[in-house]
């Protein structure tokens, strides 16, 4: 395990995320740098780089199709919820944005996550 050791944009998973945001969500990710700041904060908290965050949700076995790890996904969901609630000074909408930024990163990397309604 290790925290990011290069600019986040250089990680394949971040490039996949950005591509997904542009092509599937109609969002230009470069317009809002706070996404990357939040991802960096989350990576530092877990001591994992972005690619490792994605890998932590997967189950890879030689000669078999890659699967989403039930345990890994559940655990990541809990860490996101924790991360989201950490900023006590933020209002509910801002806290949701913190968590949803990380969910968005993982979703565009193929990890199905749902936040549920947060209103």
């Amino acid at each position: 395990m290790s925290a990011p050791d290069k600019p986040l944009e250089e990680y394949e998973s971040v490039q996949t995320w950005y591509r997904g945001l542009r092509e599937q969500s109609g969002i230009d990710p470069t317009q809002d740098r706070s996404r990357l700041d939040l991802l960096r904060e989350f990576c530092m908290a877990l001591d994992l780089d972005p690619d490792a965050l994605v890998a932590a949700c997967l189950l890879k076995k030689e000669g078999r199709e890659t699967k989403i790890s039930v345990k890994g996904r559940r655990s990541m969901g809990e860490r996101i919820a924790e991360f989201q609630s950490r900023d006590a000074s933020a209002d509910a909408r801002e806290r949701a944005r913190r968590g949803n930024t990380i969910r968005s990163f993982l979703i565009h990397n193929g990890i199905l996550l749902q936040s549920g309604i947060q209103i």
Binding site: L21, S25, G26, N100, I107, L112, S115, I117, Q118, I119
Partner: protein
Amino acid sequence: MEFKEVVGRRRSIRYFQSWRQVEREKIQVMLEAARLASCAVNATFLKAVVVVRDQLDHDTLEALKTPVSGLNIELAPVHIYTYADMGAYVGAQGRLKKLVDVGALNATHGWSHKFVDDFVWPNILKPLADGATQASVAGAAASDAGIAICQAMLAAVDEGLGVCLSAFVHEPIAKIVNPPKDWLPLWVLLVGYPAESWEAGGQRPRPPMEEQFFEGKYGNGFKPDPKVTEQLKAAKMIQAPAPLPWRKDEIKALARMFGLPE
């Protein structure tokens, strides 16, 4: 709304006004439409239990969610849990004879009480009624339940509602609705007022008609007549295809409204 437009307007709605209850009379309209659906040997394969989401306790609601359907289940104020009644062939003998009595099955087509009693029931239907797990029963049950569900969905669209068929985890809801053992869980039909526009981004992509339907024999694709296609566009059965130009902005707005990831 005209029938063709109802067919054209139906989409799987995935964003519901979670705060707005559905009038009970509209649910009744849906159930009536399902009840009147075509069904083999007049057997009512579709069984369903209507559940108001807000009457479910939090733990049950959470337990019902599959990874993919969780948000849909949370957003929809009404859940209709659908089942295929694998025992629906039981009683078919009497029902068929009733169809003879009411003039639906007639001597013109070879039907009589005696034919039902001496041949259809003992040779065809009783074995199916006795062996409800047979693949042929499953096929008939799934087909007829699907037809009935479809009619309920179209009726809902006609009532201005949104609907979506979704997977659900069976055991938690079974503790509440207590289905008989021979009811096979199918889908939950989620019902509510759409939070997205009724267009929901446009009509979904489908393969060309000639890839799905054939004329005379397999491989000879059924070629649509362009004139008929134009008529169906005018009748709003064929509508603007997805994605409509504003769809991504609509999704962004919905994500912000419900606090969802983008």
